[in-house]
């Protein structure tokens, strides 16, 4: 059963940076690394700063983990697992994401 939804075109993503998409009422941060041909989708809500801002964070890698740093208080979240590097008890929802025929598709159901 396909739960994939197209949310925008690949061109709408910001290279080496993030945008936010509204998918089934959820705010999802989408990150795109063109060099590595990688896309990531995690919740846009920063539980520490309590604001929908993670798509506006800087992305990079820390000890081999691909992360986004919250623009509010700079905690790092692993883009593959959603786990906060500074406090492993905190973990963000991570969503499946793929590129199909130039469209960015998200699956919000497990």
């Amino acid at each position: 059963m396909s739960t994939w939804q197209s949310v925008c075109q690949l061109d709408d993503l910001q290279p080496d940076s993030g945008v936010c998409a509204l998918v089934s009422g959820l705010q999802i941060a989408l990150f795109y690394m063109p060099q590595e041909s990688m896309v990531f989708a995690i919740s846009n809500y920063d539980p520490i700063g309590q604001a929908n801002v993670l798509s506006r964070g800087i992305i990079g890698d820390i000890n081999g983990q691909i992360v986004v740093a919250s623009p509010l208080y700079k905690q790092h979240y692993n883009l593959n697992t959603g786990v906060c590097l500074e406090d492993e008890a905190i973990s963000l929802p991570v969503y499946r994401i793929r590129i199909e025929h130039g469209y960015v598709q998200i699956s919000v159901k497990e």
Partner: protein
């Protein structure tokens, strides 16, 4: 019953206070009620660094007494009350205000007074001395109306005082009776070299001059007449012709005093009455008065030990000194005049760089007896250790003063010093004690200073302390990692150099050449900032956008709820009513919370990302441009209203502020930069709390640098005085370029300067004297930034592709429902958690 004895200390100067501090740290304090008389209206302060008062330090900054010290240790202090009389029969001290205290033990720490030669007219108006903070205040007051100042006395203190007069903007002269400057410490050639250096700074030196009369001047308040018939007009006469011990109170109670003054003491610092001690500059030991603080401190410690019943004696002190006089390094060690029989002398003189060095060596060439250094005192620490510890000299002792032509170092490494070697003579701290503190976990210079007190007196041993620390740390296998992050094994300064030299224009290129991994939120903005400082591209160019912090990406300041604030530039804080109305209209239209900032502009809060472009469109149409409040860049140049309107204004501070703000706007730097310009010394713009502060004086602009407000306030340092506008701007160009080039990331100018080896003097040598030969380049680099300025908001709203980013959702026109405002005092504010829950319930219902 154990009744406490009473100990009275007369005098709360540096030595008196040092005595009290040592006493309360000794168990013997329990035996005594401690009472002290302090004639001045304030407790002990740092007289050694008195001239710092004119470069911005306050009386509080100079204080040597921790807040609450007297209360905490149960010490009674009679402030502003002079001890007038001692009655040895009844063992009582009586003060001018009538306090009469019976003592068991008495310590005299009355200090000294400045010697004023009995020249006719010495007591005329504006004939001053240089000893107390009140004296400095009198100098300051006199300098307000005067133009010329003369210091009588070319010794150590006299030159310090001359520096103070120069800092006050006066045309400064030094008049010395002896044929050379610093006659006690220097020989003829050293004195001559010092004179050359000081005259190059614009101070006129007159040696071999005997003042015979001070009388009415024609152009100035006073006129000095010399024995040789010459005359000198001056407004201020400052006597600094040596000190005399204050021994009146001892004479009056028939304690033994020396034929030329001074209270005679033995090796335990006892006077001729064993219950009375004398310490510091009032005491005469072995026919000598010590006019330095370190021997006074040693005497104070001796007395504490003696009171505690420990064996201790004062057996003279090393009179070596190192200091910086008007930016000139001067040092004198031991037998500088080669009075020891058979002593050999080596001298090195370089007329080009004005450096003079002289070594005095024992007949067998094995030991260093003394030395004189002028113009370059970097060898002081090493030479002093040779001299004090009797370390055997190398085969060719002259190698110690000859400039090294190779990498071979002739310095005495810290490892060569015995544990007993005294590193800090002010606080008598040995190398052994320092190593012990390092072993116990003290691994920073600051930590070591507060733990051991080393280098907190005159500061002359700071470099040696640092090398001991570094050597011990490296022995323990510590390695200080200065890499900016895991992606670049470089400091910010290294990265700046790489980008400049290799003309690197993008992060990707730098990463490929010198880094690894993908980067992070540390290196990306840092490199984005360096690229902007060097090449000044539009920061939202596709290749630069991912490097920027969110504030730079959206050209606005993110607030706690994810909305942004908007700050247009209001240069110098000057704004027309129409512009103010336009600003108000935008605020009203978009329902923004509006607040006046500390930098004299207006901040509009609560804008969503999608509102930023239309808000800026309206602002730009009204004539505003970006205020760069979001960037690590120049923020504002605050100003007072200046001479245009103010009754007291000396120059047009607003005009200058606007010009400077427009000159440096958009400059990306390691951290934010704040300026201010005051139109007179009343300093209404608070320029001395800014990175760059400018104050108008009758003689031109005075430039202050490296001040800071915020978490760790720092008073700015006076950098240059009496500047015309062209020179002022030239210095600021160089200063800012040098800061951008060499500071660490997120390092404000204050910390940058404090961590710089050589500090303010080094900075002056780079910016004013062009020591590194960099100035032309620094000015050029600044000019490039100025020439390529653009309003980032104007560029952005004119570029459709850049506006794509300014929406909350990439796939919807909806806005963030988590952003909720409530009203307070007639404006919006973000809802708190409780209010937000309530709001959502209401909305659902």
């Amino acid at each position: 019953m154990n009744i406490k004895k009473t100990l009275v200390v007369i005098g709360n100067g540096m030595v008196g206070q040092h005595f009290l501090v040592n006493l309360v740290n000794n168990p013997i304090k329990e035996d005594y009620n401690i009472i002290t008389f302090c004639e001045e209206p304030r407790a002990a302060y740092d007289r050694v660094h008195l001239s710092a008062f004119f470069s911005g330090k306050t009386a509080e900054d100079l204080s040597l007494v921790e807040p609450g010290f007297f209360e905490q240790h149960g010490i009674t202090i009679y402030m502003g009350d002079k001890a007038a009389k001692i009655c040895r029969d009844s063992k009582t001290v009586t003060s001018e205000k009538g306090h009469s205290i019976r003592y068991d033990k008495l310590v005299l720490a009355t200090g000294s007074f400045p010697f004023v030669p009995p020249v006719p007219g010495h007591d005329r108006a504006q004939c001053l001395v240089y000893r107390t903070i009140e004296d400095l205040e009198a100098m300051q007051a006199a300098a307000k109306t005067g133009k010329v100042g003369v210091v009588v006395g070319g010794g150590l203190l006299g030159l310090e005082a001359a520096n103070a007069l120069k800092d006050l903007g006066l045309q400064t002269h030094v008049v010395e009776f002896a044929p050379r400057l610093m006659a006690v410490q220097l020989d003829d050639a050293g004195g001559a070299m010092l004179r050359t250096k000081i005259e190059a700074l614009g101070v006129v030196v007159h040696t071999g001059k005997n003042t015979s009369l001070i009388t009415d001047g024609e152009q100035c308040v006073n006129k000095m007449c010399f024995a040789d018939g010459e005359e000198l007009e001056t407004d201020i006469v400052l006597f600094s012709a040596g000190i005399r011990p204050r021994d009146d109170i001892a004479r009056d109670c028939a304690l033994e005093v020396g034929p030329r003054g001074g209270i005679v003491i033995n090796n335990q610092c006892q006077t001729s009455d064993p219950n009375i001690y004398a310490i510091g500059e009032c005491a005469l030991w072995n026919g000598m008065i010590y006019g330095l603080v370190a021997p006074g401190y040693a005497m104070a410690r001796t007395v504490v030990a003696d009171l505690a019943g420990n064996e201790a004696s004062f057996t003279g002190a090393d009179m070596s000194t190192k200091l910086k006089l008007m930016g000139v390094d001067v040092a004198s060690i031991g037998d500088a005049h080669a009075k020891t029989p058979g002593a050999l002398v080596y001298t090195y003189q370089n007329g080009d760089t004005a450096v003079y060095k002289r070594l005095v060596v024992s007949q067998d060439k094995k030991h260093l007896l003394g030395a004189v250094l002028v113009g370059d005192a970097s060898g002081y620490g090493t030479l002093l250790q040779y001299c004090l510890n009797g370390i055997e000299l190398p085969e060719n002792p002259d190698a110690l003063i000859l400039p090294s032509r190779s990498d071979e170092s002739v310095g005495l490494g810290p490892d060569a010093l015995p544990a007993s070697a005294q590193i800090c003579s002010c606080y008598d701290v040995t190398k052994g004690e320092i190593c012990k503190a390092i072993d116990a976990g003290c691994t920073t210079l600051d930590g070591l200073k507060s733990e051991t007190k080393a280098a907190t007196g005159c500061g002359g041993c700071a470099a040696l302390l640092k090398s001991v620390l570094n050597s011990e740390l490296s022995k323990q296998g510590y390695e200080v990692n200065t890499d900016i992050c895991e992606h670049f094994a470089y400091t910010r300064q290294d990265l700046y150099t790489l980008i400049r030299v290799e003309e690197i224009k993008t992060f990707a290129d730098l990463l490929a050449r010198h880094g690894k991994g993908k980067g992070c939120e540390i290196c990306k903005p840092t490199i984005g900032s360096i690229l902007a400082s060097c090449w000044n591209d539009y920061i939202l160019k596709t290749e630069h956008t991912p490097l920027q912090d969110t504030n730079d990406t959206y050209l606005a300041n993110m607030q706690k709820d994810g909305t942004y604030s908007v700050v247009p530039r209001i240069a110098g804080g000057e704004i027309s009513p129409d512009m103010l109305i336009a600003l108000g209209q935008v605020g009203k239209k978009y329902k923004l919370y509006t607040k006046i900032t500390g930098g004299q502009r207006v901040d509009l809060f609560g804008a969503r990302v999608d509102q930023l472009p239309p808000i800026w469109k309206e602002l730009i149409d009204a004539g505003f441009e970006s205020g760069h409040a979001y960037g690590k860049s120049l923020r504002t140049v605050k100003s007072c209203v200046g001479s245009t309107w103010c009754r007291y204004g000396v120059d047009d501070s607003v005009g200058l502020a606007i010009e400077l703000e427009n000159r440096y706007k958009g400059l990306r730097s390691p951290h934010k930069i704040k300026f201010a310009v005051s139109g007179c010394t009343r300093e209404c713009a608070e320029a001395q709390g800014k990175d760059v502060g400018i104050i108008a004086t009758e003689n031109g602009w005075n430039l202050y640098v490296c001040g800071n407000g915020g978490m760790k306030p720092r008073h700015a340092d006076l950098f240059a005085t009496g500047l015309d506008k062209a020179t002022l701007i030239q210095y600021i160009d160089r200063f800012l370029s040098f800061y951008v080039r060499s500071a660490d990331r997120l390092q404000r100018t204050s910390v940058w300067m404090e961590n710089m080896e050589g500090g303010l003097d080094y900075l002056k040598s780079v910016v004013i004297e062009d020591k590194l030969g960099l100035c032309e380049q620094l000015e050029q680099q600044m000019q490039t930034v100025i020439d390529t300025y653009q309003c980032e908001w104007k560029t952005t709203i004119e570029d459709e592709s850049k506006l794509k980013r300014f929406r909350h959702f990439v796939n919807s026109e909806q806005t963030d429902d988590n952003v909720v405002f409530v009203e307070e005092r007639g404006q919006i504010r973000p809802a708190d958690e409780q209010e937000r829950k309530h709001f959502k319930l209401v909305e659902v219902a």
